[in-house]
Amino acid sequence: MKLGNSPRSVIPLFALICRLTLAIIFFYAGIEKIINPRNFTVAIYNYQLLPDCVINLLTIFLPWLEVIIAASLVSGINTRGASLLSAFIFLIFATALTINLVRGLDISCGCFGASSGNISWFYLVRDLSLFCMSFFVLIYDRGWRSFFS
């Protein structure tokens, strides 16, 4: 598959850069939330989108999902699954952000645990960019093999 007039060799390299960038982002975000689950619980609650019964489960599960996705993206094992989940997660985040930006809520993003700022349209653009990167990896990434074979 060709992407416009780009040289064929550039596409896998760009996919690799996207894959590793996503891995770093997921790893950092996941570890922050694992270290301080309390902040993340409050952040999820503040979004006012989920019932109480799933908030703790999500607090426990989502950070580890992010870390495992990061590990998959770096190692090249189950990369397609990781990039699909990555795209899905960023789409969910973007939807949640949009709903609360439209509502006018001034709440913490919760994206990177304690060091998150309050939600803004910038975060929405960032999430959508990361969604596009995930989708690009899903379609074009060929794993480490293409660089060593």
Binding site: P37, P63, I69, N78, G81, F88
Partner: protein, 167 residues
């Protein structure tokens, strides 16, 4: 690689995604059950959180605060923005804007274990930053947090020690 591969890629992506979800769920549940500060899987209560957030934080008078300051038993927390802090703050105060509370938790917990009391202040009787920072610290498990209402003005007028400069 042809476009015909895309449905196949999506199929394998779904399959791999389910494997990743299963692994993450397993590790998450095991890790949470093993860690000392694990949380119940389904025990979240928004009512308890709201009650906690609305808990009244005790206030302290200027003279009490100054006595503690002289005995070196207090850490003043300037809840104003960094520019105001740089213009002038209570000597030895640290600058913690409400959003930044989490970044200081580990350091403050060590101080709390050493018996220090924390007093948040900002500028003016209507200022809410001191309450917001105090709430943020209490929510993150920092004990002995008090509020000095209109703290900066009172401290300044009393002629007590102040410093200038960034944190």
């Amino acid at each position: 690689m042809t476009q015909n591969n895309i449905p196949l890629k999506l199929y394998s992506a779904f399959r791999e995604g389910i494997i990743i979800i299963a692994v993450a769920l397993f590790i998450a549940v095991v890790f949470n059950s093993l860690r000392s500060n694990g949380i119940p899987l389904f025990g979240f209560s928004s009512a308890a959180l709201i009650k906690e957030q609305q808990a009244k934080i005790p206030e302290i008078t200027l003279s009490e605060a100054y006595n503690l300051y002289r005995k070196n038993k207090v850490i003043f927390i300037d809840a104003r923005d960094p520019l105001s802090y740089a213009d002038g703050h209570i000597t030895r105060a640290i600058n913690i804007y409400p959003d930044e509370a989490s970044l200081h938790v580990s350091g403050l917990k060590i101080k709390a274990d050493q018996g220090f009391i924390f007093i948040t202040y900002c500028d003016g009787p209507q200022c809410h930053l001191n309450k917001e920072t105090a709430h943020a610290l209490l929510l993150r498990g920092i004990p002995n947090v008090k509020i000095l209402v209109n703290g900066w003005i009172l401290w300044l007028k009393a002629g007590y020690p102040i410093s200038k400069g960034k944190k």
